[in-house]
């Protein structure tokens, strides 16, 4: 649960960023037709829906957001990190370290993370429950609305018209509307249905339930609802002359349409101001076609910038760190303070990962030849092991030959390769979410002996540098 919460948190932070950009764009586009702003809210929704998006150079999402939680997670990792279990000789096993090895502070932090995610789940379920219950209650309440014609129903319980239902949306209007008003109201509601607002709005609400802790997204949802109404007004009065606009404005005033026309009836968060909408209606001028083109360009460019993740730099950083035993730009400072100067190789400019093609992760199933790397034995890695046990273990396994040591090139395994055609990979993947590596693995290609390896889990920004180096080797059982 904590895991899920932290991923949601990451998405939420990214989305908050996107929301701020959209808010800014919305301010700039004050005079433009509102369907454009509605589309921009869609960009926010997509960002919320897709945890992983295509990578592009145009992305303005800072990479740092991927690491936002690494610091807090570091503490958590200690919990489940693989530690050398001395009681079981020559085996790394996944154990929970005894409490005394854990500092009280880290224990507190882990607990805090658990508590916070509990609160999150509670809040989200509460909101969803509220939404579901009010929807069902509305269904019951308006069950006896009588058919007027087609999908239009009338009920004395309706105070302001609205649309309800997902697959077969129905328009609910009060009984006592005069013909003129009714016509305008129906046009407005039908515009809602045409725009599929009865689907977008509940969808937005569900997203809001998940991200209920994010004030920016609340603002986004409320503004989205307001924009939807205005966009609908604009759709109806597009070809209206002044007289017709007046009659539409009257209809707005008469049946308090603004508060109505909610796609999900009970989810009403204050009324959109009638005055504003009436003013807008009377002032409305059909926008020039140029604006449509301009809007399209804007939306496309916004999506390119906001709906893409930065180029795999995050992953490449990881690769750099572990293949060279040193880190890239972002964390150089941090680790330099701890590593000895002579172990710093002079190669590999730090900016390279940005432009480099991502290294093929395929190497992992070619373990038979390439993983037995000679220089592992010739090169002295003992410096890198800052823990005593690492050295001991290394030599022990050499002597006994019971287990074989192989070198595995640092790799990242995307989620999808968990079920790759070459065999199964278990729990060995780069976790993009938290910037940590899960390395205890089990690899079985169905032909040769299955390989299982265990190595400490590493995370970026961790002070436990030794773990990162320890990862270079793996043991075949």
């Amino acid at each position: 649960m904590t895991f899920v919460f932290l991923s949601v948190l990451r998405i939420s932070i990214t989305a908050a960023l996107v929301t701020s950009v959209v808010l800014l764009a919305r301010l700039l586009l004050k005079g433009a037709p509102r369907w454009i702003t509605c589309l921009m809210w869609m960009v926010v929704a997509l960002r919320l829906l897709c945890p992983v998006l295509p990578q592009s150079r145009l992305s303005v999402i800072p990479q740092n957001t991927f690491y936002v939680q690494s610091a807090s997670l570091e503490q958590e990792n200690i919990d489940t990190a693989l530690v050398f279990d001395e009681s079981q000789d020559r085996e790394f096993t996944r154990i929970t370290p005894p409490v005394e090895t854990q500092s009280q502070a880290s224990l507190g932090k882990t607990q805090l993370a658990d508590v916070v995610s509990c609160v999150w789940v509670f809040g989200a379920s509460l909101m969803m429950l509220y939404g579901a219950v009010s929807y069902l209650r509305a269904r019951c309440r308006f069950a006896d609305a009588v058919l007027y014609k087609d999908n239009i129903r009338m009920s004395e319980k309706v105070s302001s018209p609205f649309v309800m239902g997902f697959l077969k949306p129905q328009i609910y209007i009060p009984f006592n509307l005069d013909r003129k008003t009714r016509k305008q109201v129906l046009l407005h509601e039908q515009a809602h249905i045409k725009r599929l607002d009865h689907i977008w709005k509940p969808m937005g609400f569900v997203l809001l339930c998940v991200h209920w802790f994010n004030p920016l997204l609340w603002a986004a949802y409320l503004l989205f609802c307001a924009d939807v109404e205005v966009a609908c007004d604009e759709k109806v009065i597009r070809n209206y002359k002044l007289g017709q606009k007046k009659s539409y404005a009257m209809a707005l005033l008469k049946c308090k349409m603004p508060s109505g026309s909610r796609a999900v009836y009970p989810i009403a968060f204050g009324e959109n101001s009638v005055g504003m909408r009436i003013k807008k209606t009377l002032k409305y001028r059909r926008p020039a076609a140029v604006i449509g083109v301009f809007a399209l360009v804007l939306i496309v460019s916004l999506s390119l910038c906001l709906l893409t993740d930065p180029i795999a730099a995050a992953q490449q950083d990881m690769l750099k760190i572990y293949s060279d035993g040193r880190v890239t730009e972002e964390y150089t400072e941090y680790t330099q303070a701890q590593t000895e100067p002579e172990t710093e190789p002079a190669t590999q400019p730090v900016t390279e990962p940005q432009t480099e093609e991502p290294t093929e992760p395929e190497q992992y199933y070619e373990y038979e030849d390439t993983y037995y790397s000679e220089d592992y034995y010739t090169e002295d890695y003992s410096d890198d092991y800052s823990d005593d046990y690492s050295d001991d273990y290394y030599y022990e396994s050499e002597e006994n030959k019971e287990t074989e040591k192989i070198q595995i090139e640092p790799f990242t395994i995307p989620y999808e390769s968990m079920t790759n055609p070459f065999g199964e990979f278990d729990y060995s993947f780069y976790d993009n979410t938290f910037g940590s590596l899960y390395q205890n693995g089990y690899y079985n290609n169905g032909i040769s002996e299955p390989i299982r390896w265990d190595a400490p889990r590493v995370n970026i920004g961790s002070s436990r540098q030794d773990e990162a180096v320890g990862w270079k080797s793996a043991w075949i059982y």
């Binding site: 009588v146 058919l147 129903r153 009338m154 009920s155």
Partner: protein, 119 residues
């Protein structure tokens, strides 16, 4: 007679009932589905609600009304008179005549009704 409240959508239901009563509730549900777009359960709920209020009765799945259409109309009219015309019949007639032109035979019928009411 004190006529219980009948809401607008219930009144639509009653219109059907008055037309076809006495009627089996299943048949009524069918009619309601067709004309009002009600689900079967909604119809049964409304029958139950109205029989609690004493508007209809449901005896052995045969539904019939306890209040005639006229009674309902009179009660509705009285309410409206009180609410909108302060109980003044001339004000009402004036508004009625203004809202739509009376045909000659309609006007005659009205006149005759007023004369008979005077006695």
């Amino acid at each position: 007679m004190n006529v219980p409240v009948i809401f607008d959508s219930e009144y639509r239901f009653c219109l059907i009932l008055w037309e076809v009563e006495p009627v089996k509730s299943a048949k009524l549900a069918e009619l309601c589905k067709e004309r009002l777009g009600w689900s079967r359960t909604t119809t049964y709920t409304v029958i139950k609600r109205l029989s609690d209020r004493g508007v209809v009765q449901n005896v052995n799945t045969i539904v019939s009304s306890l209040i005639s259409k006229e009674e309902a109309q009179i009660s509705e009219f009285e309410q409206m008179m009180e609410k909108k015309f302060e109980g003044s019949l001339p004000a009402f007639i004036a508004a009625f005549a203004k809202s739509r032109k009376l045909k000659k035979d309609e006007a005659d019928a009205l006149r005759r009704m007023i004369e008979s009411a005077e006695k």
